[in-house]
Symmetry: C2
Subunit: 234 residues, 2 copies
Amino acid sequence: MTVVRVEQKVLNENQRIALDLRRRFEENDILCLNFISAPGSGKTTLLESTLAVFRPEEKVAVLTGDLQTENDARRIARYGFPVQQIVTGGVCHLDGKMILRALEPWPLENIDILFIENVGNLVCPSSYDLGEQAKIVLLSVTEGEDKPLKYPSIFHKAALLILTKVDLLPYVPFDIEAAKANARQVNPAIEILEVSCATGKGMDEWRAWLDERRGNRRPIAAAINTGVVADKQH
Amino acid sequence: MTVVRVEQKVLNENQRIALDLRRRFEENDILCLNFISAPGSGKTTLLESTLAVFRPEEKVAVLTGDLQTENDARRIARYGFPVQQIVTGGVCHLDGKMILRALEPWPLENIDILFIENVGNLVCPSSYDLGEQAKIVLLSVTEGEDKPLKYPSIFHKAALLILTKVDLLPYVPFDIEAAKANARQVNPAIEILEVSCATGKGMDEWRAWLDERRGNRRPIAAAINTGVVADKQH
């Protein structure tokens, strides 16, 4: 009985913080996206490819979560936009309190898009609302097409599935149509993109998706490049 | 304060069950191995390749955990050895109680090797002792060489790291020596094998590791084949 009561309380606290975060994001017209995937599915690389084509004056910021190390923040900082690493110290997910604390030093009126890269974990992060407008789940083609059925919670809650590393399709036994069908079985409304950051495939569609979510049709980058990750400095 | 007390109690209960499991495995001379990795690193495929070369009279059994679906048990059952799926219903790890319950119908004196395939998750399963003789962590070369530093707990606790899908090395930016150095930075004593179930590379070394852990030098299979996964029926 005690266990149930405590769990209930913790969930409610996160929910309360998430509601507050969502209200603040809406007031400041911020598009907040929460990226969730298994370790190594390519969240950081996708963010790098995305930031590489944003103009320096764009108001983009990134929070990136990991159990340990500041590696991801260092990779992302090369693109010249504000970034903060959230080191969870072993905790398997980000929660609302961590986001609230990380946002303290940033004036929210200076942010148009906030990317949150969650801890690499296809299970636990799906249970923690961070006030985001949408969850985005990444699944790399090296992981197997049955994952939406095995880990249904995150595929059920995500607005968008990005199938990553599609350049590796010739070398792996991955049935991409089965993967899409499995995702739609769990979530008929899920949108799906196929992306390769190595070749740039699908990056235009991904940017179009972002533009639409921002509520305007203004292109994110003045010049759309191939989306290949480069050691670019703004 | 209440939170701390409850968590303490739960951990102690798992520890108590794990001690009991370990004692029973030792009494029955069972080698129990707990496989942990991110989703899609190749745990099920490695088990299939391993079972494919065991003789039908070998006393091998498999417990395989997933949030949902019995897919893995179906795949593994094709090799003719006892297998049980543990569907956690959303729980992000296996615990001692689940193992205890799953073992109930099996006479332990009929098992020499028990493989436990944990839920695909590089974080939470490392905290739950299942009474195993060793934890084995898998890391596929598509996931990035920094993972041992980002997810140190499981690399610290594992006796063996199996680098999987090494056939994909020509197509991915993975520095295998850096991956090994990172694993040894977290755990200087960790053993490391490189394996590809697609080509059979490293399967002889993996079987030699298993033989040594079994405490005898009797080869596991009468004829060692290439280790390629086949739709084999015993």
